[in-house]
Every structure is written in C-alpha cells, then in structure tokens.
C-alpha cells in the first residue's frame, strides 16, 4: 500500500475549555481529494490550521510522505509542500495577480528581473495544473472565483503538492463553485493531493474520493465517497436524523403587504438598481437569486431603510417611500419590516456586545419607555432567545464575538423573528452556518410563512431558494427578472436569468 501523503496520529488540541480536536487519526493518500466534513465548530478549521502549522497540537504526530515532522510552523509546512487556501482571501487589493503570487518571494532587491522570471515560472505552473489566469489583472477587478484561483496559484507556485482548502466555496457563486470543483478534479489528475474542508455535502459527493466526518473535535466516520450517500453523511455530521426539510407549502397568499415599483438606486459607485418592481404577499416566501454584487444587498438595504431611494417607490403599510420621502431603519421596523442582514458580523451584531445587548440592537426603543436601559428586560429577552434557538453556550453575558458562526446567526434570527414580524427580509440567512442551524432557521422561516408573514429571501444558494421559495425572482446588474412560480421553475432557467440571459415573465 502507498505511503500516505499526510498522516495524522492521535492529534489533540484544546483552547481553554474547548476541546477542538480529540485523538484525530487521518490518512490522506497521494493523488486523491480527501474531504473533511462537519458542522461549524466541529473542529475542521482547527485541524487544517494544525496541518499548516498555524496551531501546535497538544499531542499527536504528523507525518508528511512518511517522514515525521515536529514543531511545524507555516514556513516549514510550505517547505514540506503543504499549501493552504483560507476561507478569507489574503490578497493585496491593489496588486496584480502576478505580484500577489510572488509576494514574499521577490528574489532580489530589484523587482523587475524577479518578476520576469516569476512570470515564466507561473506560466509553467498554470500549464501543469490546467489553470488559466491573466497575471497582469489587478485583483480588485477580478471576480471572487478568479481571486480564489490566484490564492490557489500562490500555494502551487510555492511548490505545494498537498493543498488544504478551508471552506473554499463560502463566497462563490454556483457556477464558480462548479468551476472550482472541476479545477480540483484536474489537479488530482496532475498528481496533486487535496484536502477539502467544507460543510456542503454536494461538494463532497461531486469531487472527493474519500471523506472524513468530524463532530465535536473527533473524526467519527470515514467513508469512500462511492460507498456512501449525502443522507448518510448528513446524519453522521449531526449525530442524529435531521427533520425533513421543506414541508408542504401553504397556499394563502393574496394580500400584498409590500410593493416595489420602478425602484432605482444610484450611489457614488454607480447605478445599483434599475426599474425594479415586484410585490411581496402575506404568507409567501419570495426567493431572490443572483450572483452577489448584482444589487441584492442594495435592495435589502433600501427595504430596511438603510439606503435612500433614487427613483421609483416602495409602498408598505400605507406609507409610500420615495426619493423625497425617505424612511429610516427605525421607521421601517415600526412598519413591521424585520431584517436579517447579509453580514451578521459587521451589521447584524455588535461583536463585543453580549447577547443581552445584541438582543435589542435596533429595537431598544421597544424595550419599555424612558431613556434608561433596563438590564432585567435585556436579560429576559436574551434568555428567551437562547431558549428558543438553542444558542450555545447558553450564557447571556457572553460577547457575541466568541460565539461560533452558527450561534451568531441564531442570535440575529432570534432577535428579528422574536416579535413575529409581518414582513421579514432575509439576507443570506444560512451562509457559513452548520447543517443543524440551517435546519432550525429553515423551519423558523417556514413557520413564519405559515403564520402569514411575507418573506423576501436573498440567497446565493440555489438549493435554498428552491427548497423554500414560493416564487423566484433574480437580479442581474441591478435588473430584476421574474417572478417564476417555483413549482414550474427550472434550475437552468433561473441560472440563465441570473446570468442576465432571457427572463421569465410569468407574474
């Protein structure tokens, strides 16, 4: 049997009271794509950081190509041929792709000759792995998927034979995800070893040869992908059976509660939305699909009162919001519009605030009269939220910043749905969130819909859009297409609409 490219034996690591990895044994065979799947907080990223030398394990050994390595630091890991692509890109925005790839390996005081040599070598690396990239493009101008390719090239250029990818598709559009998976397939063909860390079953099933399932810091199962199924992996990840998703859809949806007509938004960055019209009805989920950056964020912000309208208007609860009559976030909330923002860490939460304080973000004026803040009221709210959404750890005075991504999102969703709002805006409600939390959030969304809430669901995840929505619209370059009834909608049609090709016109 071949020597594993990477072998971990009995790796353990704890942070404070959290055991992030517990006796992990892992063999990654050369020339394979090995998936590590698990919920958020299962210890996947910790494991990747240990392999790359960012964290030192408390115990256990690491072997690379059969040779044990000790006291691994990132610089050693690179020397051993390990490359890591982080979830958040580490690129210098104003630099070209080539400059970013060479960064730290400039070879000499004068930049020119080194860059010229690097250009030649980079072309070779690209050829070897079947990657195509314009070395002179500035990275700001590149789409997210291409930026990620630059990150991968950075690792390959440094001689990586074992590539660690930590949640690489978190920020990618569906077609970019497919391109990445194809690329990984090609890299495997050219002999590279890939460790793919993800919580998306689809990616595992598509590209991996073998998969390890992590739960609570332990590897609980390992399977050949050809011998397993997405259902089995999901059950293994969570440790128990999942509730069936996407139950029967309610039918009452006649009353329009929010009407957008001819909406246009311009700002210093240019035109964001052009002539957008749609209506949102009580008891329905309207799915808004689209590659991010096509106006979804701006639309959410307009409806949440965070951004002024340039043209057209929004009608809600008898109030007409237009350029001359702007609305504030407070007014929109009083009109019954709740908002789960796209970026929970920057917008939805004040990370240093504890759960009590975050429980009333944007809603302080509803917590009793007067200007004084009542700690008891905040405490009670936080405890209700913690109970309803199983927020862990269940401690109200913990800063939101120390919670896992899934639990942070639970805080936001709990706060925004606590008062059973008549209208709920959802921006990427399950991005970067573990499966159990996704199931919880989805069931809450459906419960609200069945109670007559009107929901606008913005998601880059087409599966989520199709699973939950009653009707689907898309945005491409600030223009709306649709709506389509989900029952009669076809993925490829929605994909074409997202790309701005053709548009459904059934209302």
């Amino acid at each position: 049997m071949a020597v594993p490219a990477l072998r971990l034996r009995n790796i353990s690591k704890r942070f404070g009271t959290v055991q992030a990895a517990r006796g992990v044994d892992l063999d990654v065979m050369p020339g394979t794509v090995h998936g590590i799947i698990g919920e958020n907080g299962a210890g996947k990223s910790t494991l990747a950081s240990i392999i790359f030398g960012l964290h030192t394990p408390d115990s256990g050994t690491i072997e690379i190509d059969g040779a044990p390595v000790n006291n691994l630091r990132p610089v050693d890991a690179i020397g051993h041929g390990i490359g890591m692509v982080h979830q958040h890109f580490m690129l210098v925005p104003g630099f070209s792709a080539l400059e970013n790839i060479v960064l730290g390996l400039e070879a000499g005081f004068r930049l020119g000759p080194g860059l010229a040599r690097a250009r030649v070598r980079l072309a070779g690396v690209c050829r070897e792995h079947g990657l195509d990239i314009d070395p002179d493009a500035t990275v700001d101008d590149l789409p997210v998927g291409v930026r990620q390719r630059v990150e991968i090239l950075k690792a390959l250029y440094r001689g990586a034979r074992i590539l660690l990818l930590d949640e690489p598709t978190g920020a990618l559009a569906p077609h970019e995800t497919e391109q990445l998976l194809t690329l990984l397939d090609r890299m495997r063909a050219s002999g590279a070893t890939v460790v793919l860390i993800t919580h998306k079953l689809h990616e595992i099933m598509t590209v991996c040869d073998r998969v390890s399932v992590m739960r609570s810091g332990q590897l609980v199962a390992e399977r050949d992908v050809k011998d397993t199924s997405a259902d089995e992996l999901a059950t293994l990840m969570v440790g128990h059976d999942l509730p069936a998703d996407g139950e029967e859809k309610a039918a009452v949806k006649v009353r329009t509660v929010l009407e957008v007509s001819g909406l246009g938004v311009r700002d210093a960055g240019g035109v964001r939305l052009t002539d957008v019209s749609f209506s949102l009805r009580a008891g329905e989920i309207l799915g808004l699909a689209g590659v991010s950056g096509n106006g979804q964020s701006e639309l959410l912000e307009v409806l949440a009162g965070m951004r002024p309208v340039s043209a057209g208007n929004v009608s809600v609860g008898g109030r007409r919001i237009d350029h001359a009559h702007p609305a504030s976030p407070a007014e929109m909330r009083s009109l019954g519009v709740s908002h789960v923002p796209e970026d929970r860490q920057r917008q939805g939460l004040v990370l240093p605030f504890d759960i009590r304080e975050n429980a009333v973000l944007g809603r302080l004026e509803r917590c009793g009269p007067g200007t004084l803040v009542r700690p008891a009221v905040l405490q009670a709210r936080a405890e209700t939220m913690i109970g309803d959404f199983d927020i862990r750890p269940p401690v109200a005075d913990r800063p939101a910043g120390v919670l896992s991504g899934g639990n942070q999102q639970k805080v936001v969703v709990a706060r925004e749905t606590a008062e059973n709002p008549p209208i709920l805006l959802l921006g990427q409600p399950t991005r970067g969130v573990d499966i159990a939390t996704i199931a919880l959030i989805h069931s809450r969304i459906i419960e609200l819909r069945n109670r007559g809430c009107a929901l606008l669901l913005v998601s880059a995840d087409l599966d989520e859009i199709f699973a939950l929505s009653d009707r689907i619209v898309t945005l491409c370059s600030g223009r709306l297409a649709g709506p389509l009834e989900t029952r009669s909608a076809d993925r490829s049609v929605v994909g074409m609409m997202m790309a701005g090709l053709g548009g459904g016109a059934t209302a």
Binding site: R14, F15, G16, T17, D58, A304, G305, M306, S328, P329, A330, R333, H339, P341, D343, R346, Q347, G348, L349, V350, L351, P352, F353, E357, V360, L361, G362, L364, E365, T371, L372, V373, P399, V402
Partner: protein
Amino acid sequence: MTPLPRWIDIGLLPAINLLLALVTAGIVVVLIGENPFRVLRVLISGAFSAETLGYTLYYATNMLFTGLAAAVAFQARLFSIGAEGQATLGGLGVGLTCLLLDPTLPPVLVVAIACLAAPVFGAAWVLVPGVLQAWRGSHVVITTIMFNFLASGLMVWLLSGPLKEPGRGSPQTRRFAEDAALPYLHDLLGSIGIARSPLNVSIVIALLAAAGVWVLVWRTRFGYALRALGHSREAARYAGIPIRRMIVVTLLISGALAGGMALNEILGVQHKLILNFSAGYGFTGIAVALMGRNHPAGICAASLLFGALFQGGAELNFEFETITTDLVLVIQGLIILFSGALAGMFTPWMTRLVLARAVRDG
C-alpha cells in the same frame, strides 16, 4: 480571542504596568545617584500626607474632568484630543460670566451661571470639529488639535486686549467678586480640621460627573447607541442609529466635561482668568482615560494616581537637590508611557497565561 476576566483587565494589568513604570523610573533614579526607595517614600508621603492630600485631590479633579471627556469620545471611537482647548474655553465661559454679572447679581447666582457656562463653552468649542467630522469626514484628531491652537490664540488676544485688567502689566483679568467662587473644602469642613489646600467643591461636581457618565454610557439608550457606534459603524447603521447626530452630540458631551475643568481652576482657585491654566491637563486626560479603560471607576483611580504624581513629584523637587523639575517630568512621563500608551502591552501575554492555566486546571 478569549476575553480576560475583568479583575485582570481592570486590576492586575494596570498594576503590572504601574509597577514596571516604577521600576524603570527607579533605574533612572539610581543612575543619578539617589536611593529609589527613599524617593518613592518621599513621593508617597508627599502626595498623601494630611497637608498634601488636598493638593493631590485638587490635581486629580482636573484630570477627572479631562479623563472623562476623553473617555466619552473614545467610547464612540472618536479620538478627540481637544480637551485642552475646550477647557480653555470653559474658563472663558466662567470668566465672562463672572466679569459681566458679579457687579449686579448675587454671588450665588453668578456661581450657578458660571457652573453652566463652563460646560456650555467647552461644548461649543467642539461643535465645529464635530460637525466637520460628522458631515465631511474631517478627522477629529486634526481638527481638535487645530482648535487647541485657536483657543490658545484667542485667549492671548482677549487677555492682552479686551479682557485685560486696565493698568496692569500681565495678561489676566481683574479678580472676580469676593464670593463669586466655589468654596474651598477647608472652609466648608473647617470644623473637622482639614489642612488648607486648593481643593474645592468642584471635586464633588467631578465625581457627580463621573457617576453621570457611567449612567449615561452603560444605562441609557444614548449610551447604548454610543457604544454600538464605537464598536461597529455598520451595525449602528443597521440598527438605525443616527450616526452623524451621535458623533456631534458625543463630542459636545466630551467638550462639556473638558470645560468643567475650568470650574476647578478658574472658579475654584484662580478667581480670575489667566493664560494657559489648562497646563496640559487636556492631554494628560487622554492617558488617564487609557489607563482607566474608559470607565469612570478606572478614571477615578487613574486620576488619583496622576494627581499623586503631580503633587508627590513637586515634593521630590524640594527634597532632593539632584531631582529637578525635568526629572520629575521624566518620571511622570514614564508612568504615562507604561500605564497609558503601553496599557495593552501585556494583554496578549496575560491571555496566554490565563488560557494555559485554564487548560491545566481542566
């Protein structure tokens, strides 16, 4: 990153910083040939004896006002360093009130109006930097520095011209009416026999202001919005906090607190308007706020420490021939450096230590 237990963050870490500052200052003292322990003894007895405690508290009062001023702005992540100019203007408010009204109104009323004028003038002086920051993004660091210079220039002009006491050679106003002043504590509490000192009723005002700042920042909606804005502008926008108005109002409150310093100096002690009475307290207030972790309780403690340094440092100057005023400044500077500017120096190290202990203890 795991947050440190509060007692470490607000107790142990400042103590370590202070100790390190004292050790470093001790080395300086050894280098000039004095015994550091004797110097420390003189410093402490010079600051906390029955005769000198009043002076220490009087200095601390100034730093309490300017420290609170800095802390309120810092909580909203506005690095205002204009307390110096705002305090100067607070003095102008007190001076104009007394000069204009003391011939006609009863002294009690004059003092009451002056107590309002000081914060109002201090706040007014930060209005323009605040509006520029809020609506035009002009950085408040730059504009408040500029306004410090403007304040100082304005006072030179006023005190050498329009407000100067006629027939006098020095740049100052006439004395205010006899009773138009905040009473000294040694007069009020003479019956229990405390020593004469410049300490006056404004320390009570300063302590009330500290309590007020605590309630404002931690127990009101305004304070919630202020802290949310300081931690995350985007989250504040999401929450619908009126960011521009918050910036201006926060700076006005900061300016009002800085203006309060004039109550101690002008209405409490000088009883006339003079040049440069703010004497760098506005800047020391920044170090006080940093050391006090922007918390009123911490600022009270830090003010006391800095007050003790000012007073005890002056005593050193009397006691030791080799220790000149410049060297006292060096020692004070070291403490400011370690406790203020380097306040976060040991935080990562301490965090690791705490984590390691937590691991060992399970």
